[in-house]
């Protein structure tokens, strides 16, 4: 038996012994996701047990170095852990922008002191991070951001406003883009800086969305004092860090539809439209839409697997995450259009116990942001056209 086969067997056995049955069920509400942080609460005993076991094994982030609380696994081993978790439907023990966004940027651009300070608190779920990128006048044109950071001795004084800051009202720290040189060309005067959301002068205001929920905030900075040592990478070269982080963010958003997927669409649709005598869905056009969707979904899963393998082999294009982001988000919107159609009028209830507080229509509406957040579909296509296909202009 090869080492990898042995590792797979051990992983399977360990997961079997340690993943509580409740943590193998599809997620049905927001409470099912554990985000960590200073004010973290577990929604169940099983959630706590699962998180702590995975944390102690280093598997909240299996592929990060052990010195930072990761599992120290190589690419093949980490893939096996993902596959074996997926095979039993195991939930992610910890959801975190620290893992999916900040961590990769710190590992590449951070000083050793910054890595030692922040990464172990991410893997242990102690600090919850948020992302200060977009501003009221800097959306798709992110590099035109205006939040200023002015020198005052060894500190920066930060003033300005961010928007669409996911869960800023629950976050402990923020990784933030600020303008440190207002005279330079727009991409050249930006710095990437970290600070505590409890700092004096930071305030947040949730934004009510069409889903009736408020996952995003406006975030205000009024003379916030941050030591210069909190800059990641070089002052005024923050755009490099920002872009690198965006690649990871886009890869994460691309995969959103794959997590906590729930019951197969064919079964969900059968609940409302029923089967004919041959066992086919009674609505043949809906059946065709579901099959076409599942073909694209399976193909995207293969592409995601291949993207990781290509990166490992040094054969991937850095802008490919934009391609995956585009496709994954458009596909996730399609999934929810089908779910709404399959649910019919049952999927329209907004508040009842029966509908779990309108879980499905609220999730449906939430997916509409997928193709906007982290770069719109149109921006993604522009990046692919210019950076991968090398088409001229603009």
């Amino acid at each position: 038996m090869s080492d990898l086969e042995k590792f797979r067997r051990e992983t399977r056995a360990w997961l079997e012994a340690n993943c509580p049955p409740e943590m193998r069920k599809p997620m049905t509400s927001e409470e099912d996701t554990f985000w960590g942080g200073r004010n973290a609460r577990f929604s169940s005993e099983a959630q706590r047990v699962w998180f702590e076991r995975m944390r102690d094994k280093g598997w909240t982030v299996p592929h990060w170095p052990q010195e930072y609380g990761g599992g120290g696994l190589d690419g093949e081993e980490a893939k096996i852990v993902r596959q074996e978790m997926a095979a039993i439907g195991a939930r992610a023990p910890l959801a975190s922008f620290g893992i999916s966004m900040l961590g990769p940027a710190l590992l590449k651009y951070g000083t050793e002191a910054q890595k030692k300070e922040h990464l172990p608190k991410i893997t242990a779920g102690l600090i919850r991070w948020c992302q200060g990128y977009s501003e009221p006048n800097a959306g798709s044109d992110l590099a035109s951001l205006q939040t200023r950071a002015e020198t005052d001795g060894g500190d920066f004084i930060i003033n300005g406003q961010k928007v669409w800051t996911s869960y800023a009202n629950y976050a402990d720290w923020i990784f933030c883009l600020v303008r440190t040189d207002p005279k330079a060309k727009k991409h050249d005067g930006i710095s990437f800086i970290l600070f505590d959301m409890a700092s004096k002068g930071v305030s947040t205001k949730p934004i009510l969305l069409i889903s009736g929920r408020s996952p995003f905030c406006e975030t205000f900075f009024d003379n916030v004092r941050v030591p210069k040592s909190h800059v990641v990478g070089t002052v005024n070269r923050g755009w490099d860090v920002a872009k690198y982080l965006l690649q990871h963010e886009r890869a994460m958003i691309s995969g959103m539809g794959e997590r906590g997927v729930g019951r197969p669409l064919g079964q969900v649709a059968a609940d409302s439209v029923g089967h004919d005598e041959q066992g086919r869905l009674e609505d043949p056009i809906l059946r065709g839409q579901i099959a076409a969707f599942e073909i694209d979904e399976a193909a995207l899963a293969a592409a995601a697997e291949r993207a990781v393998d290509l990166a490992k082999a040094g054969q991937s294009h850095p802008a490919f995450s934009s391609a995956m982001k585009y496709y994954g988000t458009e596909l996730n919107k399609r999934r929810y259009e089908i779910l709404m159609s399959a649910g019919g009028i049952d999927a329209l209830e907004w508040e009842s116990e029966r509908s779990k507080g309108g879980a499905r229509p609220r999730a449906w509406l939430r997916t509409k942001a997928n193709s906007i957040e982290g770069g719109t579909s149109e921006v993604m296509l522009g990046i692919v056209a210019k950076r991968i296909l090398d088409l001229p202009g603009g």
Partner: protein, 379 residues
Amino acid sequence: MALILTEEQSMLRDSARGLISDKAPVSHLRQLRDSKDATGFSRELWKAFAEMGFTGLLVPEDFGGSALGCVEAGVVMEEIGRTLMPSPFLSTAIVAASALSRGGSTAQKSQHLPKISDGSLLAAFAVDEGAKHRPLQTGLQAKRSGNGFKLNGAKAFVVDGHTADLLIVAARSAGGPGERDGLTLFLVDPKAKGVATERTAMVDSHNAARINFDNVEVNADHVLGEVDQGYHLLEGVLNIGRGAVASEMVGLSEEVFGRTVNYLKERKQFGKAIGEFQALQHRAAQLYIEIEITRAAVLKALQTLDANVDGAGAAVAVAKARAGSTATLAVQEGVQMHGGMGMTDQFDIGFFMKRARVCQELFGDANFHADQLARMKNY
């Protein structure tokens, strides 16, 4: 297993690409078409395929082959797709070789496989009867007669049927159309009494035939696999063929796309390259993404086939459906973005459009495979 080609597979791709792009660019197909060539492909190139070891890729080593897998066969098919080279590679080296090595007796294997491997035997697989691919609906009759069977019926869209030295024929030996039980595969000599072959000129200038069977006598030695239980073998072989055609469509799509993107950079209107227009940039980017995702799905299917043919049904359905839709999109965008030039026969792009349409039908189109997937998942 990583979802990328290994070093050996990349080397195979390079050598296939070298030979095919050198000896059989699209002008090769054009020349065969314009001269109404009676064979429809180059026997000389088939010899070259044999010398390179391509004809025996899937043949077990005991019978003169190299016992490689569907991924390797797909690598060659993809290169064929780039230049639209007409070749018995699919019908003989992939489908027939798989049918014989998976279902054949030792005597059948010894008789035919070494000849496939050395390039001296051409074979064709006769399944379709109606306008659409419906293997379960097979109705060509196999009636018991003495020690053997008598075949009556007709097959259509028999790829390379006009030059075959050996036919593999799906027939109904029991039950009725739609039933899994009662299918039998037969090895039939195309020169046998009662076999009438009509070469059918197709839209893509590739090779196919309609074949009539009028009281064709075959003895028990010519049954491939088990009598009445041929569906399992048939389905496995078809899935291997589907993976191969999907690979051809990936190569075809990528070639059309490459030519189209080059045209977007060269063609000037309104004083600038048309590739500067966002309307075209976004469509080009969408097509690129479709192709990359399809490429991954196809490689996944080929690897799954190599791991276990019987467990590959869903992955193959996904791959063939995706490849069909992607190739259809690629050739449509290709013609549209080439403007009037794309409509001319002088320009190659139309050849790709025609071949894509045929590949879409071959072994089941995207709708067929979507339906298959829904059945596998019980909805």
